[in-house]
Amino acid sequence: MVSVLAATSGGHQLFDLFLNGVILGAIYVLLALGLNVILGLIGVINFAHAAFYMLGAYLTYSWASHIGFLPAVLVAAVVVGVVGMVMEIGVIRPLYKRIPEHALLATFGLTLVAEQAVRWHWGDYAVNLDPPSFLSGGFSPGGFTFPAYRLFVVAATAAVVGLVWLLLNRTNLGLVIRAGVLDAEMVGALGINVPLAFTLTFGLGSLLAGLGGAMVGPVAGIAPDMANSIIILAFVVVVIGGLGSFWGSVVGGLLVGVVRSVLVYWWSPATELVPFLLMAGLLLVRPRGLFGAEGVFE
């Protein structure tokens, strides 16, 4: 594909857009994967997910100058994961027995609080975070530019996706979580602490959102309205990929990121509209999204 693009007149520009799309896509993947893990395994849709993403970004911004960029990213992600677990215990757990819409509404209320809290502590204006010095350079083989930081985001995302997959599919914790989804009562009867497994799952999903936010700072900037604008995209990615589908989120995130970015070359309003058109078109053909299974959440 790269050579095809290079042959056209705007080849370099298109390639830049494509690479940008992959970076955006990687962030969407992290965000949507966290959302989808929580949704698919616990059956809760977490509106506050993007608030966690924003929190991750701001914490990294605050800590990067003290403890270095990479440690700040990791610590921010873990802290966001812990915040997620606290929220699960305090707000989500009492709502498991109700209809799923109630968790959606409660977390929506909390996003209002989160945005104001960020404005109160970090101010109303956007802040800038530079990539660390060892990632600020880039390579340019054959005239194509690969900024090092962007490659780092893609590599880190790929590694995290792999780890999460292994965690859910190859460990006992993953087994307990997946069994707990099918029949929480029976798993509990086997002496396994199901609520704890759910809390950990929620923490994992939040951690992914926090990680996405922690890494997005040097790429897209940090502002108090960043949560509002991205949560819809995360939903769209989840719907495109299929509710509860792990690989659906990965493919959907990259697809939305790349299409959104590359189409700007021909038609700039595409940035905003294309994810929705993609979703609408796909739903007409495949109502459950790309990889959605029949009977999930219906």
Binding site: L39, I45, F47, V91, P94, L95, R98, P100, E101, H102, L104, L105, A106, F108, G109, L110, T111, L112, V113, E115, Q116, A117, R119, W120, N228, I232, F235, V236, V238, V239, L243, P269, E272, L273, P275, F276, L277, M279, A280, L283, L284, P287, F297, E298
Partner: protein, 335 residues
């Protein structure tokens, strides 16, 4: 307080809830002014009361939670505002706004309702609403883009000057009476009963021979029309339409207002709208972080009082009652 299901005989005219609603609309502005707000605020509260009632017509009755009804509010607002430049006669413009909202809702209902329920439904309606928001800010020549739509003409109503705040309140009150009355009529009809049945048990209703999809589609379209009226009224009240009204944050607020009022009761959402907007207008001058307070109130209600204000009122009434509650009432509370 009326209950939506299981009413055996029609209420007599004097005790008819809509009569009480009319009386309340008459007294309402005096109360609002006595509590330190303006007549403008009274009209504003009514806009949200209509909006929340419209959303609840779908959510409280069929169980479909739409997170995209802000788009119908927005469609109503833009169409009524644009039409007022051609025909500066408010009732006509409001009807036009409602008609456009319903016309937009019709194909959407056909596409979405059959395919999605539950949280899937909420997410898809949310995404569609957001899509219209982006369309609205791009179509600058028609909608004014991010600056919003201005130049909305109020005109006169058979010689009555609507630019006076008091006269405008009467317009709002009549609009609310008619729109909420229409919603009441719908919920009390056999159509409304089937919708209630769908909300309570979606799997069983088809066995009674009802096509649930058709009922849900129609409820979607009717509720879109009522939200369109609310949007049109807000356009005339503010003399401006902001593209942000189409966004999910607006819909989310309206949905939570409905929940806070009580989705199981017909007038609950309207009461919730008045309560929340009253709190909001009180908070705005005091702190710029007012959305945080509203958010906490919302979350607290979802967690602690899912029946909303109406549910709380019901519980209080139960305390002061001697005879034990009848079986249907108990079932209702459990639901």
């Amino acid at each position: 307080m009326s209950r939506l299901g299981g009413q055996v005989k029609p209420p007599s005219l004097v005790r008819h809830p809509m009569v009480w609603f009319g009386v309340a609309l008459y007294v309402f502005p005096y109360l609002v002014v006595a509590l330190g707000k303006s007549t403008f605020n009274a009209s504003e509260f009514l806009v949200w009361a209509i909006f929340a009632t419209g959303i609840n017509l779908l959510w409280g009755h069929t169980g479909d939670l739409s997170f995209g009804h802000g788009m119908f509010f927005g469609w109503g607002a833009y169409s009524a505002g644009l039409m007022s430049r051609q025909v500066p006669f408010v009732p006509f413009d409001l009807l036009f706004g409602a008609a456009v909202a319903m016309a937009v809702a019709w194909p959407l209902a056909k596409i979405i309702v059959r395919r999605a329920t539950g949280i899937y439904f909420a997410m898809i309606t949310l995404a569609v609403g957001e899509m219209f928001f982006f369309v609205a800010i791009r179509l600058t020549s028609i909608t004014g883009g991010e600056n919003g739509l201005g130049d909305i003409r109020l005109g006169t109503f058979f010689g009555i000057d609507l630019s006076s705040r008091v006269n405008f309140y009467y317009l709002s009150a009549w609009t609310a009476f008619i729109a909420v009355g229409a919603a009441w009529f719908v919920t009390q009809s056999s159509f409304g009963r089937v919708c209630r049945a769908i909300q309570q048990n979606r799997a069983r209703v088809p066995f009674l021979g009802f096509d649930t999809v058709r009922y849900r589609e129609r409820a979607f379209i009717i509720s879109a029309g009522i939200c369109g009226v609310a949007g049109g009224l807000s356009a005339f009240l503010l003399r401006h339409v902001a593209a942000d009204t189409l966004r999910w944050t607006n819909t989310g607020a309206a949905v939570l207002i409905a929940m806070l009022g009580g989705v199981q009761s017909f007038f609950g959402p309207a009461a919730g709208a008045v309560a929340v907007k009253f709190l909001e207008t009180t908070l705005i001058p005091k702190t710029k972080f007012w959305p945080a307070v509203i958010g906490l109130v919302f979350a607290a209600f979802v967690l602690l009082a899912p029946g909303g204000l109406a549910g709380l009122a019901q519980q209080v009434r139960m305390l002061f009652r001697r005879k034990p509650p009848s079986a249907p009432e108990l079932g209702e509370r459990a639901a």
